[in-house]
């Protein structure tokens, strides 16, 4: 049996006595009385001692009770106030009538007949009146007085600690009491003194204090995971400015200038203007009449002023298209994960800024089947069980496709968009080969992964949530299935 140091001390103190008060034991052990009782309970749990708990009740008169003890209960005072009978009307005028009349009837001291109150003659002193004079435990009448609020009850608890036969035997046999050591000192370690020490044992069932590590935000981890997948698939990372000209954000992507997405309600415009790059004339011609391709263009007019307005990038395609303009020779495999901006009011699933992932492949001979292949590979690496494809529509791709991934709890979930850049997009930039492109909202995946229903939590962090979200989720182990 592994007794703690304190239990041993208590056992040995009790040994010669058999039983004792905690105060006496506390003195012997030089600990507070509560500590002695606590150790005794531990010994009791091991069957070595019995802790006897005695409760003595004390009664004290309340102010009201003290008053009645001196002058008699209201009903007694009232009874002595009239002869054999009295009209009810008259009696009720007495200040004690309110309590007194009811009690007198209840105790059978009076009857009320035809408006007259008559004494019954059965009005000897009751148990309650006796208890009122001497309120000690066990007296009849105490309960009534407690109910009437004339007495207050207090409990006095006392303990008596006694050894069981097992305890007596163990004490007689004796236990070794050695000082326990909490923290090992440097001296004890290097001198070998530790060999003589008794190290204090800790209870592993008691949870430790909670501490929190420094950590990368769970959303940033997810972004990092996607970066790693795309880097492993041989993609070059793109980084670029938040501010873009409408030219690169819209016109270079063949978004007509009167497209609803370009309106002020949907896009954050800025007061700044930027010079158009030399390629703008080819882009303009493409909008107006299809340039030198088989396209008809959008017709209408095209304004240089509209194209030079600055916007907060509405999609990361504004970065990929510039990357292509700067790198027109194949092959190009590039990606970016960037924050993009939409003029939307905030609610649980809509934010004015969020991360978008975008990947492009430009090479001789790449085609629609390859696009589907890249999508399938990426989503499979992201841990989705199934990927399927539906026709989609995006203004700057043709053909366009909407990938869906299978999520066991939800079924098929739409997961971004993809397509091959239209020739109207690639031709003005001098790109001679097809460009496969896909994009997706990163927060969509974050919601699925982290079980979120409110996107705002990602950006307006509740520190507690970041502290409590594990750094590693099982499906995140690289190379795992």
């Amino acid at each position: 049996m592994d007794l703690t140091q304190n239990e041993k001390k208590l056992l040995m103190a009790l040994g010669p006595l058999g039983s004792a008060d905690p105060s006496h034991l506390a003195e012997r052990l030089s600990v507070p009385e509560e500590a002695a009782i606590q150790y005794a309970h531990l010994l009791q749990d091991r069957g070595l001692a019995i802790v006897e708990r005695n409760v003595v009740k004390h009664y004290v008169l309340t102010d009201e009770g003290r008053n009645y003890a001196r002058h008699g209960l209201p009903e007694r005072q009232l009874l002595e106030n009239f002869g054999e009978s009295i009209p009810m009307v008259e009696l009720t005028r007495h200040p004690l009538a309110k309590i007194g009349i009811g009690q007198m009837r209840k105790k059978g001291w009076i009857v009320i007949r035809d408006g007259m109150v008559e004494k019954t003659g059965k009005s000897g002193p009751g148990d309650d009146e006796a208890a009122l004079q001497d309120p000690s435990e066990g007296k009849k009448g105490i309960a009534d007085l407690l109910k009437r609020g004339l007495l207050q009850e207090t409990e006095e608890v006392s303990y008596r600690i006694a050894l069981t036969p097992e305890g007596t035997a163990l004490a007689a046999q004796g236990v070794e009491i050695r000082e326990e050591t909490g923290t090992l000192s440097r001296d004890q370690i290097i001198s070998g003194g530790w060999k003589e020490l008794k190290l204090r044992r800790y209870n592993v069932e008691k949870l430790p204090r909670r501490i929190y590590p420094g950590k990368i935000h769970p959303y940033q981890r997810l972004i990092e995971e996607m970066r790693q997948i795309l880097l492993q698939m041989g993609f070059t990372e793109i980084y670029g400015g938040i501010v873009q000209s409408a030219f690169w954000n819209f016109d270079a992507l063949f978004q007509p200038q009167d497209h609803p997405a370009r309106e002020m309600q949907d896009t954050f415009y800025l007061g700044e203007q930027l010079c158009l790059p030399p390629v703008f004339e080819k882009v303009r011609d493409m909008h107006l009449h299809g340039g030198t391709t088989s396209s008809t263009g959008w017709g209408g007019t095209w304004s240089e002023q509209k194209a030079s307005q600055c916007v907060l990038r509405t999609h990361s395609t504004s970065l990929t298209i510039r990357h292509l303009a700067d790198h027109p020779d194949p092959p190009v495999k590039a990606f970016s994960i960037s924050r993009v901006y939409r003029r939307e009011a905030i609610d649980p699933t809509h934010l004015p800024e969020f991360e978008q992932l975008e990947g492009i492949v430009m090479d001789e001979g790449v085609n629609f089947s390859h696009l589907l292949g890249f999508l399938k590979e990426f989503y499979t690496r992201m841990g989705f069980a199934g990927v399927r494809f539906r026709p989609g529509y995006f203004p700057y791709t043709e053909p366009s496709v909407e990938p869906e991934v299978y999520v066991p709890a939800l079924g098929w979930v739409e997961m971004g968009g993809a397509g091959i850049f239209r020739e109207e997009v690639t031709a003005p930039l001098g790109l001679e080969h097809p460009v496969l492109a896909w994009g997706l909202g990163v927060s969509r995946i974050a919601m699925l992964r982290l079980g979120l229903t409110d996107l705002r939590l990602l950006y307006r962090s509740d520190i507690e949530w970041v502290r409590d979200t594990p750094s590693i989720l099982p499906e995140q182990i690289p190379g795992g299935d």
Binding site: G214, K215, I216, H217, Q220, E224, L231, Q232, G234, F235, E237, Y239, G240, G241, I242, V243, D258, P260, M264, F268, L270, G271, E272, C310, L312, P330, P331, V332, K333, R339, R343, E344, A345, P352, V361, D363, G365, V366, N367, S369, H370, G373, L375, K376, E377, F389, R390, P391, G392, P395, E398, P399, V401, E414, P434, Y459, R460, S461, I463, E464
Partner: protein, 546 residues
């Protein structure tokens, strides 16, 4: 988005195909099913396919896609003998007019709702909220041809739809619900567009409202269509889509002569496309015959032509066909997206991270090593948080949003530290100490760059903690730095330092000023630091320039 209601009974009657098959195949034609109800299904079609914004249009496409009736749908147009004049003064206001007569319609309430639904969807997708195109539908038998499209005095009176008294056109813009909604389109013009019959009675005040006179009811048998706008191609698209949808429902179409030109023209346009180009784009191995058959399923007229070409007749309502690749996408849809072998291209390239993001990752690693938790605040912020509470002056080159949605988001952040303090404010009731950090973009002028910042809040946070961490972090980042006393008003005088790299300021650290703590409702002292990552060795030139 255009959500079209498709009643099963009508759709089944038009297609001869049962609803289960239709619902299961619709997504593969290019649509999102929004709701499946007892008697109808609501479907969202893409904005490039306004020809699918009616039950009749969807039925036409489904008959082809599901093999019931393939190839080009042909529409006859007989002359009606009705003429329309156009006032030359409209050239600067709303120059283009399209029209047609539609005879033998049989409207019930549902059919009227369906036509109005198509009209509204076209106003949205093709008409850009009626500014580019507006459509009017009139009971032809209430008016007397020829008709006149005029630029009218703004004080001309007529009874607008849903009213029983005359209003001037100006009053219509001020009082009628539609007038208030669309007045911005015409209000700046000295005269207003107006369509009248030969007796001078008003059919319509485009693009605002029709007259009550020509209201379409269940009794209406013959329709006059007017379509006005600022873009001729868009006007033509709207006219052909409405006419062909009505023809699909059993009506006959007759032409109207507008200034000598016959409207509508419902004949197809012709394109020659290359089979090998299509196969190259899609990764397929189709023969010209196979390709033509697939195009016929999508309701094109298509036949193999010489030298691997396919001759394609594009129906007049397919306004989205701008380029050969648009046809190739339809080949892919007819082929079935689920039939494609998804294989990765052999394109060889070596993955390469961007140095800005590599630096960001390293900085995150270093700062988490000191026990800080990362947060990712918005980049949109406001002057109150960014400058006022920080006791800092507003820099000249802060980037303001022109039309913010809320007072919270009026500018792009120039610093990260204010946002960390704001996040701590939100987390006041959480356990201390709180040690948080952020690495991310900031914007000055039009230029984006990256900063890193951390802060630590607890009763014993002080300058010593700030300096020790700043020093350690800079050493870990291999920054060749020196420190001098700072004058940053966000920090306590005598408890603040500037970090200099090559003699230039690159960061600041210290103990946050109690007035700043008060402004963020924080009750304990804060040690903090912010660092411009452009000072780091290896940070590239100017990757964030637009």
């Amino acid at each position: 988005m255009a959500i079209i209601t498709l009643p099963y009974r009508y759709l089944e009657r038009l297609t001869g195909i049962d609803r289960e098959l239709i619902i299961s195949r619709l997504p593969m034609l290019g649509s999102d099913i929004e709701r499946i109800e007892e008697d109808h299904v609501d479907v969202e079609f893409f904005p490039n396919r306004p020809d699918l914004f009616s039950v009749e249009g969807v039925a036409r496409a489904l008959r082809g896609f599901l093999g019931k009736e393939t190839g080009l749908p042909e529409y006859r147009v007989n002359p009606s003998g009705i003429k329309f004049t156009v006032d030359p003064q409209l050239a600067a206001i709303r120059p283009f007019l399209g029209s047609a007569v539609i005879r033998g319609v049989s409207f019930d309430e549902e059919a009227i709702l369906s036509v109005m639904g198509l009209q509204e969807a076209l106003h949205w997708a093709v008409g850009r909220g009626r500014s580019k195109v507006a459509i009017g539908i009139h009971d032809l038998d209430t008016v007397t041809p020829p008709f006149h499209y005029n630029a009218s005095e703004r004080t001309r009176k007529f009874v607008p739809l849903d009213y029983d008294e005359e209003l001037t056109m100006e009053e219509v813009l001020e009082q009628h619900p539609k007038g208030r909604m669309y007045s911005h389109i015409v209000n700046n013009f000295p005269r207003f567009p107006l369509i009248v019959d030969d007796l001078g009675r008003v059919l319509s005040f485009p693009p605002i409202i029709n007259g009550e006179l020509t209201r379409v009811t269940t009794e209406t048998r013959n329709i006059l269509l007017d379509t006005t706008g600022t873009d001729e191609r868009a006007v033509r698209t709207a006219v052909t889509i409405i006419c062909t949808a009505m023809a699909e429902s059993g009506a006959t179409i007759e032409s109207v002569e507008i200034e000598g030109v016959r409207w509508p023209d419902l004949s197809p346009s012709v394109r020659y496309v290359r089979t090998d180009e299509c196969n190259r784009l899609l990764g397929t191995g189709l023969s010209p015959g196979e390709m033509a058959a697939l195009l016929q399923k999508m309701r094109y007229g298509a036949a193999p032509a010489k030298e691997g070409m396919v001759r394609v007749e594009v129906p007049c309502y397919r306004s989205d066909i701008m380029h050969d690749w648009d046809l190739f996408e339809d080949v892919a849809i007819a082929y079935g997206y689920e039939q494609f072998a998804a294989g990765i291209s052999p394109t060889f390239a070596i993955g390469k991270p961007h140095p800005v993001n590599s630096i960001g990752s390293l900085v995150r690693q270093v700062i988490t090593g000191f026990g800080f938790i990362e947060v990712i605040p918005f980049t949109l912020s406001n002057g109150e948080v960014m400058f006022t509470r920080m006791q800092r002056p507003v820099p000249d080159d802060v980037l303001m949003i022109l039309h913010p949605i809320t007072e919270d988001h009026t500018l792009l952040r120039t610093d990260l530290l204010p946002l960390l303090l704001e996040i701590c404010q939100l987390n006041r009731h959480r356990e201390l100490p709180q040690r948080i950090f952020c690495v991310g973009d900031v914007v000055r002028g039009v230029e984006t760059s990256q900063k890193a910042a951390w802060m630590s809040i607890h009763p014993a946070a002080d300058f010593t903690e700030a300096y020790a961490h700043a020093d350690a972090i800079c050493r870990e980042l291999a920054l060749p730095f020196t420190v001098r006393e700072s004058e940053d008003p966000s920090f306590i005088d005598g408890r603040r330092g500037d970090i200099l790299v090559n003699g230039k300021p690159a960061g600041v650290f210290g103990e946050i000023h109690p007035a700043v703590l008060n402004a963020f409702e924080l009750e304990h002292s804060v040690a903090a630091m912010e660092l411009d990552l452009r000072a780091l060795p290896g940070y590239p030139g100017s990757p964030g320039t637009p």
